[in-house]
């Protein structure tokens, strides 16, 4: 079409539109009167809190006037409203200090996602068919209430289940009070990459069941056992800020950073020294270092206090962990172990950390206790340049841990009348994220009624009978009490930054409303969630705590003294067991290492197009799954870059393209978690493979946490791969001669 034709066509289309508009008023959208004062072209920045992970980064949202198509009182129309345009870190917030990560930058797409659920849904087809019909909130609420009223007898009340992603702040308090007053058991939290092993280890070693905070900016030596702390683990933005200072923020001082892991992560790439050890032997190396430090009398056993007393043989100098013995078990040379131990003890303040895969073995707990003891030995717990625990304001009370999802699923599957009659599901996706051996999907199908609060249909929420869609975090009151990442005491609180785009309601408000309307009403003392957050904020001490100033700056924070480790003796020596793996080495020669992906974490962010097109920084892959394999191993198996390969465990098989990577041990294959969704919006559905789908159900025995690094696999090149699923790489792209003309 040339310019002249285009003008003619536009003129004709315009005339048609005008005529249609005259004849059929319902075809022309009316303009609603704005509900808020707006200034064209002027941006305002409003505080909020990023809710994509548990770190709790404070953000500022750029809000400008725009026109959105909305529904008001059943009428579709155009509304001029304040729209979020960009997220940036909140410079005043103690965790984010003006920064947010790549995922946080993309978080705005959650609100504007084309596949967001826009109003309540009721299942209209079979379970899992994905067929729903849109219904009104009045109808949805009455359906939910009648279901909850039907389990009102004192015995039946225990059959209400609540399955959720990790909650923080007043959401956690509300859910816990709702369930307690209803007479239901505590909520079950499900997340793939949970940290319950480390929390429990920290409770035993130091007295705090909490993730640690690291004072990297003042440290002179950082030794990380597997923790992807600059990428995906714990509080990555706070870590990155401190890391920059650790490298170049102190004139004349640049700390050394050592990373111990069998597959080079984004974090490991930044290390001065990268040490691949055999999977599951990280804790053995930590005790080997402690042995050398004790033997050279650089420290004495009592320096580690309680954390040391938990380790078998600590007071006698760990005789089983000589450099020679540790060398055999970890695959390092004894000279390197001695050198590392001396560096760690002599270049203080030094800090050791453990996270991710080393905790996801069957010996995860003892590995964590070993690293805790090493930290305590060099005297860096609660000290500058070491580790400490964030002092949290007391506005919630300790969370009550519900039963493990795996146990609930097992009970549901065997019972004649399932012990869960109604399940409330809040934004977590265990059908995608749990190993097949737990049979979660099967159990969920057996539960008579499921109500989901999620904003998207995914593998789990598509099993729901009723969907009561939540606001996005930009449309909600948000609050969080960060567990780690700052030395200050923080309660982040922020009002909504924009009006809801769709016919959604915030989950806490729906819970409060249900509590009021039940036949046997609950005595929740608040009319709205806003009221509840305000009531909690009033308890916060100090002059900075006025409600207006809290809303204006996005929370309340004040400096507090560091929590000191509990040194009280809790003698309970435990030997460090060898990690056990699922699958015999003869049949399954490779360790399988799934890892949280830079773009998608546990897969919950695979629906955001910016993150799909974000090249993974290590592989440069976009829109793809891949399996990382050592080039020499690949050569032995006749595999070249991009070949479709088959990964088989005792529990399943998947296919994905091979990515030859020099940064992975020859007996390990690595795979990012995130792709492989069957059903998760137009951007993620049917793309790639899910490594979690072939994991064994092996757990860390003391916490019941999934040991997601404990599965062994075999690898084969696919002879007849059928449909090729290409590996899309950003590196090496932009070749003009490869462009096809269309």
């Amino acid at each position: 079409m040339d310019r002249r034709d285009f003008i003619k066509a536009s003129a004709a289309a315009g005339a048609t539109a005008t005529l249609a508009g005259c004849g059929n008023p319902e075809n022309q959208l009316i303009r609603f009167i704005p509900e808020e004062p707006l200034f064209p072209g002027i941006a305002t920045w409003k505080p909020s809190i990023c809710s994509l992970c548990s770190a709790g980064c404070g953000v500022l949202v750029r809000v400008m006037e725009g026109e959105a198509q909305v529904i008001r009182n059943g009428q579709t129309g155009i509304l001029k409203m304040g729209l979020a345009k960009k997220l940036e870190g909140n410079p005043d917030h103690p965790i984010s200090q003006g920064k947010i990560c790549a995922r946080g930058q993309a978080a705005i797409q959650v609100t504007y996602h084309p596949d967001r659920i826009r109003q309540p849904l009721k299942r209209s087809g079979d379970r899992g068919s994905g067929q729903f019909q849109e219904i009104s909130w009045d109808q949805a609420m009455s359906e939910a209430l009648s279901r909850l009223n039907s389990i009102a007898s004192s015995e039946d009340r225990k059959t209400l289940g609540f399955l959720t992603r990790p909650l923080s702040g007043q959401r956690e308090v509300l859910v816990s009070q709702f369930l307690e007053q209803f007479g239901a058991p505590s909520a079950t939290v499900f997340e793939v990459f949970g940290n319950e092993v480390l929390r429990e280890a920290n409770r035993r070693s130091f007295g705090y069941a909490q993730l640690p905070t690291f004072d990297l900016a003042r440290s002179h030596y950082v030794l990380s056992f597997g923790a992807d702390f600059l990428g995906t683990w714990n509080s990555p933005v706070a870590h990155s800020l401190a890391y920059g200072e650790m490298r170049q923020g102190r004139p004349g001082i640049r700390a050394k950073f050592v990373q111990v892991e069998p597959r080079m992560s984004q974090t490991g790439a930044n290390a001065d020294e990268w040490i691949p050890v055999k999977p599951g032997t990280e804790g053995i190396l930590a005790l080997g270092l402690a042995h050398v430090i004790l033997k050279a009398k650089l420290r004495t056993p009592s320096d580690a206090a309680r954390a040391g007393e938990l380790i078998d043989g600590w007071n006698s100098g760990l005789p089983n962990y000589t450099p020679e013995a540790v060398a055999t078990r970890t695959g390092l040379s004894s000279a390197r172990i001695e050198k590392l131990a001396h560096e760690f003890a002599e270049h203080g303040p030094a800090v050791a950390m453990i996270g991710d895969a080393p905790l996801a073995h069957t010996n995860g707990m003892s590995q964590a206790l070993a690293v805790n003891a090493l930290n305590a030995l060099v005297g860096n717990v609660g000290k500058a340049g070491g580790i400490f625990f964030t002092p949290r304001p007391d506005i919630g009370g300790p969370p009550k841990a519900g039963r493990h999802l795996r146990d609930i699923a097992a009970d549901v599957l065997v019972a004649a009348r399932t012990p869960v009659q109604v399940l409330l599901l809040n934004d977590t996706n265990p059908v995608f994220g749990s190993p097949p051996a737990w049979r979660v999907a099967e159990a969920l199908r057996k539960i008579p009624y499921i109500i989901s609060f999620g904003s998207f249909l995914d593998e789990t929420s598509s099993l729901a009978d009723l969907v009561l869609p939540d606001h996005s975090f930009l449309e909600s009151w948000v609050d969080a009490v960060p567990e780690s990442g700052t030395s200050m005491s923080v309660a982040s609180i922020a009002p909504p930054v924009m009006r809801p785009l769709h016919q959604t309601r915030s989950m806490p408000d729906v819970l409060i409303e249900i509590g009021r309307q039940l036949q046997r009403p609950l005595s929740l003392p608040w009319k709205t969630y806003e009221e509840m957050v305000k009531a909690a904020a009033e308890v916060l001490p100090g002059e900075s705590g006025s409600w207006e100033s809290i809303q204006g700056q996005g929370g309340w924070w004040r400096s507090a003294s560091m929590l000191q480790p509990d040194r009280q003796t809790a003698r309970r020596e435990a030997p460090l067991n060898d990690a056990q793996f699922d699958g015999r080495a003869e049949d399954y020669p490779f360790h399988f290492l799934p890892y949280a992906s830079q773009a998608f974490l546990d897969g919950s962010l695979a629906h955001l197009p910016w993150l799909q097109e974000l090249p993974d920084v290590v592989s440069t892959a976009m829109w793809s799954s891949w399996v990382e394999i050592n080039p020499r191993t690949a050569q032995d198996l006749g595999i070249v870059q991009g070949d479709m390969i088959e990964i088989t465990s005792a529990h399943g098989t998947l296919q994905a393209p091979a990515l030859l990577s020099p940064g992975i041990a020859p007996d390990v294959v690595g795979m990012p978690v995130g792709q492989g969704h069957q059903n998760y919006t137009r951007y993620a559905s049917g793309r790639g493979a899910n490594p979690l789908s072939i994991l064994s159900g092996v757990t860390e025995p003391e916490t019941g946490a999934l040991a997601w690094a404990a599965t062994r696999v075999k690898v084969a090149k696919m002879q007849n791969s059928g449909e090729q699923r290409p590996l899309i790489l950003f590196a090496g792209g932009m070749k003009e001669h490869e462009e096809r003309h269309r």
């Binding site: 959105a68 920064k99 799909q612 097109e613 920084v617 020099p662």
Partner: protein, 238 residues
Amino acid sequence: MAHSWGMSVDLDRCTGCEACVVACHAENNIPTAGPDEAARGRAKHWMRVERYWEGEFPDVRLKFRPVLCQQCESAPCEPVCPTYASSHTSEGLNAQIYNRCIGTRYCANACPYNVRFFNFYNPVWERPLDLQLNPDVSIREQGVMEKCTFCVQRINAGKIDAKANGRELQDGEIKPACVQSCTANALVFGDLNDPDSAVSRLSRSPRGSKLLEEMGTQPKVTYLERETWHKSEGTHRG
């Protein structure tokens, strides 16, 4: 004196987190290409993080380098443009004037840094993703070349604000989206004509070098090399 905008990138701070990459998409209305077009090498990333492997397992190293338009003082993209769409501004930016561009793609051929991106199609934002678009940045149509602008809309907003309030522009006041987002403060932006600006001081660092500087392009982005740790130095360096 006129401004001369420049950037320094401290590779010893950069962690490869790629917050800059997504921040750039959000700020500059960069369309998502989708898997099919991305497979053809048509994904648009004005800012990217390159990575280089060195050595073999187990003695392997991986290095990151954020790469964006180097805003060359002697830019190969400019003289090849038949319509003066690629042109040099008085403040030293390699501007791309979209409504002059006729899509010859000579500039992308001439650029040694691979930082120019061609619109093979009209961009699409599936509704309501379009509500996020930044009204300060124009959307590029089919047939037009696009590239990093050092967030010229932010530069202009900063200058206008300073002028409206009758004050001098402060060093560090203007931050392109990538610099604002940088979680390790590896990226620093400012005026190279101000010898006391942070970017000027960092650009004079003995660790500094320019990307492909032997080509004579005179880039205004300075890379500060990653350091190595030696035991003999301990934690202290000279």
